[in-house]
């Protein structure tokens, strides 16, 4: 049984943070959502209420259970309100200095036993932990989008993370009904270390004239049983996001497969960002493929 009772989520006004807060509250924990933007928190609260409303409609929760979960959720724009937290999970912007600075501030707010978990998908846990005076209390806890639906969590100890911290954080994820896997503190952990270069390879195949995007995605889905092809997936997450992932990985790994392909950069420069702009490797007002 975990010793954690109260959980704070930093960056809870964002999509990922809001999802993590749902996981924590659904797991039975008092959950304090923290964000510097009151508007973002308000928006997330409405989305959370909508999510649980649908859960009731679909029979996954009773209305009493929904009320109980929502009753465990609080929100604040004051970091001092995280003083009672046993676990604080950060899901703020993917920037090393921002995360380090947040940990420095949390050091001054939270009690000594508090565990700090980072939801980073690309940065080193050890480097993030160097922002704290208690790096033994810092652990990687990477949720997948959408966090409220995806069970997987990549758990990574930094070089100085204590065994007790890792064990307590691990058990907490299990108590929330999640499925943790352990990875070393390496760029991209497991998921992105495999996915980002693979997606780049698919872009390079388009660029090299190997096949049209539709044929590449169809081949991957038919042969391997994937739900989405790599180019469909890039269109969904955004080509600009793929560039950012490449820029996070390549300087650290120097793996040529992790470098942003020239075609990707050209498409981003042209505003072809995928679904969100209506056009990427596909256009979304018809079935026409870009470059086909």
């Amino acid at each position: 049984m975990t010793t954690i009772r109260t959980v704070g989520v930093c960056g809870a006004g964002g999509t990922m943070g809001a999802g993590i807060a749902i996981v924590a509250a659904r797991g039975g924990f008092r959950t304090i959502s923290y964000d510097t933007s009151a508007e973002a928190l308000e928006r997330a609260a409405k989305q959370t209420a909508g999510f649980f409303g649908k859960s009731v409609e679909r029979g996954k929760l009773t209305s009493e259970e929904r009320d109980a979960v929502l009753g465990r959720m609080e929100r604040t724009t004051k970091i001092d309100d995280l003083a009672a937290c046993d676990l604080v999970i950060e899901a703020v912007f993917e920037d090393l200095e921002i995360k380090r600075s947040l940990l420095r501030n949390l050091d001054g707010v939270c009690p000594d036993h508090t565990i700090f978990a980072s939801n980073t998908s690309t940065l080193s846990i050890t480097e993030i932990a160097s922002g704290s005076t208690r790096p033994d209390k810092v652990v990687g806890m990477h949720f997948c989008l959408p966090a409220q639906l995806m069970k997987l969590i990549e758990m990574s100890p930094g070089l100085l993370t204590s065994e007790e911290t890792f064990k307590t954080a691990w058990e907490w994820t299990e108590q929330c009904g999640q499925t943790p896997v352990k990875t070393q503190d390496k760029p991209g952990f497991i998921l992105n270390a495999l996915l980002v270069p693979f997606n780049n390879d698919a872009i390079r195949a388009v660029e090299a004239g190997v096949a049209a995007p539709g044929d590449i995605d169809k081949a991957i889905k038919t042969a391997l049983g994937y739900k989405m092809g790599p180019l469909e997936l890039i269109d969904l997450v955004g080509l600009d996001t793929q560039v950012r992932l490449c820029e996070a990985f390549y300087p650290i790994t120097l793996d040529p497969r992790a470098a942003a392909p020239p075609l990707l950069r050209r498409m981003v420069a042209a505003g072809l960002l995928g679904r969100k702009t209506g056009r990427g490797f596909y256009t979304y007002d018809g079935a026409t493929m870009f470059g086909a």
Binding site: C144, M150, K151, L152, E154, T179, V181, K182, T183, Q184, K186, F189, I190, L191, A193, L194, L195, P197, F198, D201, A202, A205, A208, G209, V210, A211, A212, D215, I216, K218, A219, I220, T222, A223, L224, G225, Y226, K227, M228, P230, P256, R257
Partner: protein, 212 residues
């Protein structure tokens, strides 16, 4: 689309007993001729001559430069992970000068048999091997480096990406010696480290060669 099958050896695309093999007609009546595991004879009088490919390029059979005798020749491979049953995917391979009509005839032959067809240029690895083999290599290297256990790496891909199986369980099921054969061919062509056979595949190939 009437097709004839010429079987000159073992076929990875259509192994013994595959129903596709029993639906062929005589070469004289066929609009398309499919050569399985065999050298082929050009026949410009047919709509398409289909040549089963392994790891080699179609140009090995047709030459690099345009040649009317080979303008109706289309390469193909049905994707198969090692000794798993063949998938429904057929990759068609064309040269720049392959006639569109030959490609369409080849497509019809396979689609009429209920298979899914994609078209690709004559580049090493076609679509699937070009994309998945570097990923398998990376997964095997990361496993060697202790990033995580095989079980956790495969579970991560299943849960996080919705894959039906993880990369390591898949490549091992297909056979690491076969992975060596494919990556060695890709590495010879591209020369980039991403395609270089990984340690575990090299070991598997050496053990197979020495009968262990």
């Amino acid at each position: 689309m009437r097709y004839a099958i010429v079987r000159g050896g073992e076929s990875r695309s259509f192994p013994e007993g595959d129903p596709f093999l029993s639906s062929g007609s005589s070469i004289e009546d066929a609009e398309a001729v499919i050569h399985l595991g065999a050298a082929f004879v050009p026949d410009p009088g047919k709509s398409a001559i289909l040549v089963e490919l392994g790891t080699e390029s179609l140009a090995v059979h047709t030459g690099e430069d345009a040649d009317d005798a080979f303008a109706n020749v289309v390469g193909f491979a049905r994707y198969r992970n090692g000794d798993d049953p063949p998938s429904r995917l057929v990759e068609l391979v064309r040269r720049p000068w392959t006639k569109d009509g030959a490609v369409e005839a080849a497509r019809k032959v396979f689609e009429n048999a209920g298979l899914e067809v994609v078209l690709c240029a004559d580049q090493a690895g076609r679509i699937i091997d070009r994309l998945v083999r570097p990923k398998y290599n990376a997964a095997l290297r990361l496993l060697d480096e202790g990033l995580a256990t095989q079980a956790d790496m495969d579970l991560t891909c299943r849960l996080g990406l919705g894959y039906p199986d993880g990369p390591i369980e898949r490549v091992k099921r297909g056979g690491l010696a076969q992975h060596f054969e494919v990556t060695q061919a890709l590495f010879e062509t591209y020369g980039t480290p991403a395609y270089a056979p990984p340690r575990q595949a090299i070991v598997a190939a050496r053990r197979e060669r020495t009968g262990k």
